[in-house]
């Protein structure tokens, strides 16, 4: 287990949801995250992909302890969060930071860019004093490509891409070991998206930072990740090394996801084989029995309705949760 900084084991987040009807007190669990396990090494990027409602964001928030897990454990440097006291949690928060999707909405409109970026420093290193904090903020602004002269401007005076840079600067100012990025580039224009992806990769190299990069965009995830996890209805369908996953997706859902990404080349896009899944993802309140993907899976059998497939090793560190992965010819994307 060398270099593992974060270990997530059988993590579950179930939300009690009031189900309709006249009876008071009828609750059903919405299994947003249902038994997710993985390790993350220092300096590594784990991409987490899946469609809306698959539990990506909840998983990210549970790792950061922003939402309480219903089961399982999250350990940081070998120590479980469950055993951590308030003081430990405070210290842990310094080492794990977060960047959210909507750049403008996630910044306090009444604070200047400088105050937003400085806030974590005041919380954790208030004794540094105003001059030193100001110096560090300007240095970080420069690193993320913001003019330090803009330090006294308010969020609405920045573009979407610049607001996201403010978010990244704030996340980086404490030199954390892990940054969880929840759809950090989804709200950005294509030309700005590339700038922010490059920035995150450069900061990772410079600070040896680990990243959890949550996104529905498989092409961006491929670019930035070392390993990739594919989620569907709160469960891990596949978890593999980036190159292995993209060259040879094993799970029928991963295969369909990849086939669905349009290629910006008219000849290739029109010639590629179409794998069109039927229907929409089912409601997480009412997941199918057995394999949660079976209602849309072109390879489903009776066994799939009956038994939940476990994650199996397909070789090296790559895992897939499918009863029939051995019989399936892996498609190359």
């Amino acid at each position: 287990m060398t270099g593992v900084i974060l270990a997530v084991d059988d993590l579950k987040v179930h939300f009690p949801v009031r189900t309709g009807g006249v009876l008071i007190g009828q609750y059903r669990p919405l299994k947003a995250v249902d038994g997710v396990s993985f390790d993350l090494k220092a300096g590594e990027t784990l991409g987490i992909v899946g469609e809306s409602g698959c539990g990506k964001s909840t998983l990210g928030r549970a790792i950061l302890q922003l939402v309480a897990p219903t089961g399982g454990t999250v350990s940081w440097l070998g120590k479980s969060f469950c055993d951590a006291g308030a003081a430990d949690l405070h210290a842990l928060r310094r080492e794990m930071q977060v960047v959210f999707q909507d750049p403008l909405a996630s910044l306090d409109p009444r604070m200047t860019a400088g105050d937003i970026i400085a806030e974590p420093l005041w919380n954790f290193h208030g004794n540094l004093g105003r001059t030193e904090i100001d110096r560090r903020v300007r240095e970080m602004m420069d690193k993320v490509g913001l003019l330090p002269a803009m330090i006294n401007r308010y969020p609405h005076e920045f573009s979407g891409g610049q607001c996201q840079r403010i978010g990244v600067a704030r996340a980086m100012i404490l030199k954390p070991k892990l940054v969880v990025c929840d759809e950090p580039v989804s709200a950005l224009d294509v030309s700005i998206r590339a700038q922010v992806v490059n920035l995150l990769m450069a900061l990772q190299r410079e600070f040896g930072l680990a990243l959890i990069f949550i996104s529905h965009d498989l092409a961006v995830v491929r670019h930035i990740s070392h390993r990739v996890m594919v989620l569907y209805l709160g469960r891990v369908m596949e978890l593999a090394d980036r190159d292995a996953l993209y060259a040879m997706p094993r799970h029928p859902y991963t295969q369909a996801l990849m086939a669905a990404i349009p290629i910006p080349d008219p000849d290739r896009e029109r010639a590629k084989p179409r794998v069109i899944l039927s229907g929409d993802p089912p409601s997480p309140l009412d997941p199918p029995s057995g394999c949660v993907f079976r209602t849309r899976c072109p390879h489903a059998t009776a066994l799939c309705a009956d038994q939940t497939p476990m994650l199996e090793n397909t070789g090296a560190d790559n895992k897939v949760a499918c009863h029939h992965w051995r019989e399936m010819s892996p498609t190359s994307a």
Binding site: E51, V190, S191, A202, A256, A260
Partner: protein
Amino acid sequence: MGSAPLLHIDNLTVKFTTADGAVDAVSDLSLHISPGECLGVVGESGSGKSQTFMAALGLLAANGSARGRALFHGDDLLTLGDNELNAIRGDKVAMIFQDPMTSLTPHMTVGRQLSEVLIHHRGVSAARAREESLVMLKRVRVPDPERRLAMYPHELSGGLRQRVMIAMALLCGPELIIADEPTTALDVTVQAQILDLLREVKDTLHTAVVLITHDLGVIAGLADRVAVMYAGRIVEMGDVRQVFADPRHPYTRGLLACTPRMDAAVTGALFTIPGQPPNLEHLPAGCAFAPRCASVLDACRNDRPALRGLGGGRFKACIRDDLAHAS
């Protein structure tokens, strides 16, 4: 395309008056759509994609005004009154938006909304309208169509709602569909279903489609021609294969280069276009792309480059002809 254009937008300028003054959201824009073809319109947020077609259909917000011409079968839509426009919209020209909830009425069943379109435009009986609605829902492969007729929009998933929108758009057999980001709000596997459906509509019904999107991949899969917009203007236009294989405008090249793609090896850093999309209120003199363009010359800052023909139906708005062709 040999046939006469279905829609010909000629020198369209769209102005909005705001508290800070007036902005030109669209400037001197000209394009045409021929019967049965799909024109892709691509560009970043705020580049004027939507407002171009909102203006053409008389749907601008109260603070907006349009100048120029939008000829549909030779009639200038910009001079038509509300009644005449209403007769065309939903009948000969249909629209599909990103969020179907904005165009579906929340408190009316799907069946009633579909029927009203037919009753309004075709004057058919309620029974006949219901029958035709059902046929259309089947055609766009809405599962369980009878049951859906009695449902309300919020009871449908995003993908089904978009199918209902497409069914509604197709009801009167339109000659032109304007689809504004029809799949942007959908999951990728559902997007693939909807794009497949649009492809089928185009191939079997020969309906002309304007496909507005910021996703070059979506354009690549569906469009015959593409118009690339930047700061309210078309900067490049032409056959989709030619433009993707050999983009001539530096902005088109940049957009293609900075899009990570599944069919190419992973490179270290992504190509980037420096800087940010321009603020329409403070456009620089000359070429609006000049502050971000790697090929900029002093001359680029003098006059707005006009969109000029390059032969073979290709156009670009850039003064430089000496840029090496992309490989």
